[in-house]
Symmetry: C2
Subunit: 367 residues, 2 copies
């Protein structure tokens, strides 16, 4: 098992990553609680809820399942968790555990952050993608008009990451999570990047997962410790996300996963970075790795103006100018303000390149 | 004009109290903002919104009116403010102003605390009662099952208190506000207490109001600066509120105001304190002052068990034992855990005494 610590403004919390942890949840609680509410979702519930319940000796343990999927990350789900917490008699010495992926973590964390103006909560991520959202203290729900619009910065009391819960993930979910790991590697760690480029996502094993997740979390923690409230450095974590989020909002959380669209966003960032800094970046290597690991890279035809306008409606937009996270080299991110005109040109070029590459791919396949 | 400073965990903010401030709002903003949304309620809007709008030179000033009254302090109002903020294009450099009483301040503050995970907000209280809620950073909405259940600790960027906006308050609202001032005086300031006992609420004037409000805010600030997140000392501010809130929840925010019920709660605290510490406290003087100032002191017949159970459902209850704030003397508050049995006896005695006093009052009147 690996253990790391994350420093938040209010407190430092432990992140434990290993096998079998869900059967020993109690050992990882930072203190005694008067009662515990486990929030999970319909799919995770079937697999792991009873394990976690059984691992807690507290007499007052309750559970609540929210619907699965991004669309559950809304104000109604949030309010239902509050109702459940009141009905179970949770007080200021109680704990809420978020057992699930990013959606469960985000909405549950926001409920805990606001229940009686904030009680302890613990993240128990059950997806690879959630390694990213489970540390750093960003909790939120979506507004009907915009993603993650309503939330808090609220650090968990602990993160308990049982990698065994990742074995039930399907290939799409594994890809989605590894795109964020790739992002972290590009931002800060050439060694992790090299390791990922050698990784076949269909043949992962426990210790490899533990090491990749630990590295990813350490990179993220290193950034959020310096800039918890996203005044500067933390913006680097948006590498690949400005385009990724725009595509997500166009496709409406449909057949593409978050990470799959971030992967495309990362390719875009690499290309724009090469132009901006007249430098060579491993676009080709990343493209090949994504392709070999079955990331969907063939975008449907989209109006570049629509993409641009979605990029601008992202909440990180300041005074309507887009700040893009770029790379001067692997491990050297930088922010660049970019005019609409230039950005539109980059989008068009990128769409064209991706289209040509996918046609070439098809041709090769036909040969 | 009086000016005082309040230290919060995240920053120190100025509180300005004086005449005519709403015509110079811009002078009291701590910095420039990309846009400003003023949230007010239907009744305040008619009186003061245009003054505040006119006093801001920022080109992007928007306004939003919520319904008046406690029942508007709910999740729907909260979400509507978020929607309005998005529609107006507010970003992380924007400001939300809460122009109104405690309800407007609480729900608007919570919206600001969570919009994009927190943007600046300024309190512009328009009631005497709101002097209390506008400092200290408690923001919240009510859950259908419990008051102030969903919220944050989130300090404002400034408090701008124009006492001219208090001249439109009716007698009930003046009484409501002065009950909280009386509470603060009892907790910490014998001089303010003596001054209040000489105050006729029907003949207030500007400088007197400014001085009372400044004193009250300084007392509150002194407490919340030591214990922003209510781990200990801040609980003293609940003096009179355990019974007050219980009565409020029984009457359902009807014809009694918050402060009127707190006034009854203060009398109860004084009586219980006399028993607990075998000491003399100025129950008689407070009772007479409340009576002379037309506070309604005649409670309807209520089952004491019902009152007790409502007291216990208050969210400050820890492990189901009631902690009551008592006074060893004026300026010397203390917390005491009290058994259900004893508390029930105190409630019954208090109900009986209040009933006898009101019958005596009626007899005197008949003579």
């Amino acid at each position: 098992m690996n253990k790391t610590q994350v420093k938040a403004a209010t407190h430092t919390y432990p992140v434990s990553i290993g096998e079998n942890l869900r059967h020993h949840t109690e050992d990882y609680l930072p203190k005694d609680y008067s009662s515990i509410l486990i929030v999970t979702d319909a799919s995770v519930s079937d697999y792991y809820l009873s394990d976690v319940m059984a691992s807690l000796s507290n007499k007052n343990v309750f559970s609540h399942a929210i619907p699965s999927g991004e669309k559950a990350k809304n104000i109604d789900t949030f309010y239902e968790i509050q109702t459940k917490a009141i009905e179970c008699g949770l007080d200021r010495q109680s704990l809420i555990i978020a057992l699930g992926g990013g959606v469960v973590g985000d909405v549950t964390g926001f409920a805990a952050a606001t229940y009686m103006r904030g009680i302890d909560f613990i993240q128990m991520p059950t997806t690879i993608l959630a390694h990213d959202s489970s540390v750093g203290g960003k909790v939120a729900i979506n507004h009907a008009h915009a993603k993650n619009m309503i939330g808090n910065f609220y650090a968990p009391a602990a993160v308990i990451y049982d990698v065994e819960t990742l074995y039930t993930l399907n290939a799409k979910e594994v890809r989605s999570g590894y795109a964020e790991l790739l992002k972290e590697a590009l931002l800060a760690d050439k060694d992790l990047y090299d390791a990922l480029m050698k990784t076949d996502l269909t043949s992962l094993y426990s210790q490899k997962l533990i090491n990749h997740l630990t590295k990813g979390i350490e990179i993220k923690a290193g950034i959020v410790e310096v800039d918890e409230h996203e005044a500067g450095l933390r913006k680097h974590l948006n590498l690949g996300h400005t385009l990724g989020h725009a595509l997500e909002s166009i496709f409406g959380y449909g057949s593409w996963t978050h990470g799959e669209l971030v992967a495309i966003g990362l390719l875009f960032s690499l290309r724009v970075s090469e132009h901006a800094y007249s430098t060579n970046l491993p676009f080709e290597e990343v493209f090949t790795w994504l392709k070999n690991n079955d990331y969907p890279l063939q975008l449907p035809e989209l109006d570049p103006e629509t993409i641009l306008s979605k990029m601008k409606s992202d909440k990180k937009t300041l005074n309507s100018k887009i700040q893009l996270v770029l790379l001067q080299a692997i491990g050297q991110p930088a922010l660049m303000e970019i005019s609409d005109e230039k950005l539109l040109k980059h989008i068009q070029d990128f769409q064209l390149e991706m289209k040509q590459r996918s046609e070439q791919g098809a041709e090769q396949y036909e040969k």
